[in-house]
């Protein structure tokens, strides 16, 4: 038998049919054009690898022209933005632990006197090094900034002090991650991104699958409440999420040696809220999407900002304010803070709570929205 030849008319027939079908699915088509554009604009402006204006707390126990010059020097460097004048060392520690500031600068008592005597007083700079990328550039610049701030003051009889070694001994402490290991930051962060991806995709298919397979009609004809369907569909994935957490935490410990400085219970609470929040978002998508393809597209639409704007891939504080505001809404942003806080900083419930309740609020909003979107009829 002769094998049939390749024929252009048949190719054309298929191409034409595909184009027609593509055109029919307006929403998919709009998403294919709109999403890249939106993301290009969003991420193009938001992502910045050289974060500046990092919030800094200052504890000045020496009220002198020198300490004031140092604070002013930090500000004008644009790396630091002094947001808090702390009252004592405990406050500095707390602000760092909660992630309210990236840096804490302590100017010790008698700084002026020691400086004038040429005793090279210590200037203590504590950096939150859970994300080494966020602090790297600022830490690199600090010594120069201090020197630059003091040089104009060290004239006349004090000129000799401006020579090498520098007049001030700048001591940088990389807190929580003294060696600046990237894994310490990435591995806990990966837990959040992996959970986001799997949880949202699984539940975003939940209702669309019922609709596509035709089982929706039967389900709706039986006496069952939307909340019952919703919670019933989420429950198995809470378990799956828990399993993923165990695997990732095990690997973090065994393969990468990531410490667990804080109470695991707090971590578990944070993760549980986070997992359910993501499942609820996925379910919300599945009540909106008309087919499984759209559900997948919506999942990715949520997933990309989650990794790019949460502080997982790029320093959160490097983003402009508007982008940080978007980031604050995303559960992953808060989870990263909880996970890094508990595992690296040793935070307890009190220090983690400021990041747990936003996830809870997000979870409730998504659940309520999904329950109202859920149609009990085929209309």
């Amino acid at each position: 038998m002769k094998r049939p030849h390749f024929a252009w008319h048949r190719l054309v027939a298929v191409v034409v049919k595909e184009f027609i079908q593509l055109k029919r699915d307006r929403l998919t088509f709009a998403m294919m054009v709109g999403i890249p554009l939106l993301q290009l604009i969003l991420f193009g402006y938001a992502i910045n690898n050289d974060p500046r204006h990092l919030p800094t707390a200052v504890l000045s126990q020496d009220n002198s022209v020198f300490s004031r010059a140092i604070v002013a020097g930090l500000q004008t460097s644009t790396y630091f933005r002094v947001t808090v004048i702390a009252g004592d060392v405990a406050e500095l520690d707390r602000m760092l632990a909660r992630g309210e500031v990236q840096f804490a600068v302590e100017i010790p008592a008698g700084f002026e006197r020691q400086l004038m005597r040429g005793d090279r007083p210590a200037l203590l700079v504590m950096a939150d090094a859970t994300d080494p990328a966020a602090t790297g550039n600022a830490v690199g610049a600090i010594e120069r900034i201090v020197e630059g701030a003091l040089t104009p003051l060290l004239d006349g009889p004090l000129l000799t002090l401006a020579r090498v070694p520098p007049a001030v001994d700048v001591r940088v402490h990389r807190r929580y991650n003294p060696e600046g290991l990237t894994q310490y930051n990435i591995v806990p962060g990966l837990m959040g991104t992996i959970l986001t991806m799997t949880m949202i995709i699984m539940t975003s298919l939940a209702m669309t699958r019922e609709r596509e397979r035709g089982t929706m009609e039967n389900l709706l004809s039986m006496p069952v409440r939307p909340t019952e369907v919703m919670l019933g569909k989420l429950a198995p994935f809470v378990l799956v999420g828990g399993l993923q957490v165990l695997v990732i935490l095990g690997a973090a410990r065994l393969l990468f040696g990531v410490p667990m400085a804080g109470p695991p219970v707090v971590l578990a609470v944070g993760l549980l809220v986070f997992i359910v929040a993501n499942l609820a978002v996925g379910f919300l998508f599945s009540t909106v999407a008309r087919n499984q393809l759209q559900a997948m597209q919506m999942s990715f639409f949520f997933f990309l900002p989650s990794i790019l704007m949460s502080g997982f891939m790029f320093p959160f504080r490097g983003m402009p304010d508007w982008a940080q505001m978007i980031g604050e809404v995303l559960p992953l942003t808060h989870l990263l803070r909880v996970v890094r806080g508990v595992m690296l900083k040793g935070n307890g419930l009190a220090d983690s709570w400021p990041d747990i309740w936003p996830m809870l609020a997000f979870l409730l909003a998504a659940l309520i929205l999904a329950a109202t979107r859920y149609r009990q009829t085929l209309d």
Binding site: G214, N218, L219, M222, T377, L378
Partner: protein, 317 residues
């Protein structure tokens, strides 16, 4: 039957449903009494499925009112869903669950006491006791339909809504399916069943005929046929002559329908006198044998539909 038997299980007035500009159900009235098998007939797109979906609360009507099992179809669909078994046109159980798992799921949703025993009994009745662990998706069409029926009667509903339950099922399976439905109705269950098959319509206690979202006829099969006022002639003869005759009669005044059944032609018209006049020239032809026939249900429906189409088109104009 007791006095209770007279209370209508379904009673709706002026039911209307629109999808966009299209009126799918158009001022529809229906009464169905307890324990009856009520056939629901009409061409594709006549509003049968939509009506059934409104009755079980899957669609909200745009107009009209009514009750189903004594509950308001507008505000009490939750109560209706508890007491109704709905079998969808397309198989809508889970193909990736086994037969038993599907039945278990339905039984749990309805909160049935003694679930295990009820599911076992249902499997026995189905004759699937040994195949309970087979995936529902691997069943053939006839078996899927029997499983779907078993699933929707599991909670012993008062009303069974069946939407073209036997489409694409072989005659033997269809016969068995209808025996089962009659057994259920004898037990007091009311059944509303839509179908395209005339033999199935004839197995119903009463039938309702829909076209263009309107109810055109309702009653027993005999009543519907008689009410149409159709008269029919059967004419048989040589094949060649019958085929030619069919072409000649088509479109003559008074002749509404000419349908060949093998070597016999069914010729029908609503006006007996005009029909007789139309066929008069052929009555004397030697090779043809003319007999007065009874119009069939199918003839009646096609007549009703043609009439409705004229009215419909007229109303549009």
């Amino acid at each position: 039957m007791s006095g209770e038997a007279r209370t209508p299980v379904i009673s709706v007035r002026g039911l209307t449903k629109r999808f966009g500009d299209k009126v799918v159900v158009d001022g529809f009235d229906l009464d169905v009494e307890r324990g009856q098998i009520h056939g629901f007939l009409g061409p594709n797109g006549s509003g049968k499925t939509t009506t059934i979906r409104i009755l079980c609360g899957l669609l909200v009507p745009d107009g009209g009112k009514g009750t189903c099992l004594g509950y308001d179809i507008l505000g009490e669909s939750w109560a209706i869903k508890q007491r109704v078994g709905y079998m969808t046109q397309r198989f809508s159980l889970y193909e990736d669950l086994t037969i038993r798992e599907n039945l278990d799921f339905v039984a749990r949703l309805h909160g049935l006491a003694g679930r295990r025993a009820k599911v076992d009994a249902a499997l026995d009745r189905l004759g699937l006791a040994t195949r309970g662990d087979q995936l529902a998706g691997t069943l053939s069409g006839g078996w899927k339909q029997r499983l779907a029926l078993a699933a929707c009667v599991l909670h012993e509903p008062d009303l069974l809504l069946l939407d073209e339950p036997t489409a694409g099922v072989d005659p033997k399976a269809r016969r068995e399916f209808w025996d089962e439905i009659h057994a259920l109705a004898a037990g007091g269950m009311t059944v509303l069943v839509s179908t395209h098959y005339m033999d199935e319509a004839e197995r119903c206690h009463r039938i309702a005929y829909l076209a263009y979202g309107r109810l055109l006829a309702v009653g027993t099969v005999e009543e519907v046929v008689r009410a149409s006022g159709l008269s029919t002639w059967h004419v048989s003869g040589p094949e060649q002559r019958i085929a030619a005759l069919a072409r000649e009669l088509e479109g003559r005044p008074g002749v509404e329908m000419v349908a060949p059944f093998g070597a016999t032609l069914h010729v029908s018209g609503a006006d007996a006198a005009r029909l007789d006049a139309a066929i008069a020239p052929y009555r004397e032809e030697a090779s043809l044998a003319w007999n007065r026939g009874e119009p069939s249900l199918e003839d009646t429906f096609i007549h009703l539909m043609a009439e409705a189409a004229d009215n419909h088109a007229g109303a549009r104009r």
